[in-house]
Symmetry: C2
Subunit: 275 residues, 2 copies
Amino acid sequence: MQRLCIHTITTKPWDLETALEKYRNAGVTGITVWQDAAQAVGINRAGSLLQESGLEIVAYCRGGFFPHLEEAGRMKAIEENKKMLDEAAAIEAPMLVLVCGSAPGQSLETSRDQIKKGIESLLPRAEENKVALAIEPLHPMYADTRSAINSLSMANDFAEHFNSPWVGVAVDVYHIWWEPGLKEQIVRCGSNQNLLAFHICDWKMPTADMLLDRGIMGEGCIPIQKISQWVDEAGFAGHREVEIFSQKYWEGDQDEYLNKIITAYKNHYPKEIIA
Amino acid sequence: MQRLCIHTITTKPWDLETALEKYRNAGVTGITVWQDAAQAVGINRAGSLLQESGLEIVAYCRGGFFPHLEEAGRMKAIEENKKMLDEAAAIEAPMLVLVCGSAPGQSLETSRDQIKKGIESLLPRAEENKVALAIEPLHPMYADTRSAINSLSMANDFAEHFNSPWVGVAVDVYHIWWEPGLKEQIVRCGSNQNLLAFHICDWKMPTADMLLDRGIMGEGCIPIQKISQWVDEAGFAGHREVEIFSQKYWEGDQDEYLNKIITAYKNHYPKEIIA
């Protein structure tokens, strides 16, 4: 399971120390840290725990939310993102994932312009900290308040606009599995050196809640193996990050849940197990 | 309100006779009939009620659901759609709206092929009945089971593939408001004579239910006026159809709800009122 990473939010009830111990004992090799988990113990302590764990720190989540109707809101967002870049550097995370934001009182075009300006403002700090900014396109059902970047095609446009080693894309199967021309967009992302991260989970049928009802791989209809193959063929060799928001699983036994994740991962990536 | 049409499903608790009376008294000039409303009184009786009402019959809803894992399911869907084309002709509806379907056990590409074949099989009957087939692209959040056609761009591709006066597109703001390049796709749809229908409602923030929590125009974040302007500029002069699925409104007083719809419509289209 040398490519299996889990996001701390996936097992939200566990604090960072518990998550690290459980993941490591289960053979998980990577961890993506959400800000709430790091801040709960303090950034410095989080950094020490992570270094001691031996797990690879894959990413820090999640900055962004650049668009706001008022200038003051946009400035505040940029400051908050700079702070997150510093926190990412402090825990030695190589990238900060961006949920770019969307402000419903203005057009999506305006929100996209503000996202562009936001990322631009962060670039010097990203470079200084050696922390890449990973633009995560979000499913169109989040276009109202979470992100005005709703396809891999558009995320590619953005990353190519910056054409910087410090700006790339985080591909999450949940958000883009439906996208026409997906394979071509993944190839494009990889060949431009923009494919920085790969997130997996599943789309349940039905989905009871738009935010907190993601499924474990195999519980839904996303062709995860096919997309994973395209991602690998596009040159990506990093961790496959399990990012699941699930009220149902959060309310259950976390050890059982972690077991299910690992079993599902092994089912989806048998070759990695054989190797 | 010479361009205001309401879908019977919008005021689901009312039977067809009640809906016709209430709509007419409120000055609504068009109606789109859902199969459940028509079948509840019988197709012939529905036809008589509609003719007597003086309202324009804008469309019949909804056919489609072509993709199935098994051949038998696909054949059954085509037969059902032929029956709906006959029902549409019987009530003198000029078009049948298609929610094209998606089968989660197969790829979206396969579902799209099956949709193409399904529409192809219906074309002779559509022409014979003089009932157009309106492909409605559905929001990507319905890609799992309701439609593998998830953007106006793709619906345009399909309509242009058939290049027939009996195949076009139904544009619903709820499904495509987030789409990059939306204006260009609307222009393209109109200039190819494919813009057959225009549906309005709003995207609530937050949306509590993926299917049954649509808002009245003004309750959400969709730039309805801007999209309507694009649609008109693309040459569309037909009815604006209010299609709202809302558990909340269905549970309330339907007269008050209809009043709210009409007030919202007047607010959004003041020029029509002045004219």
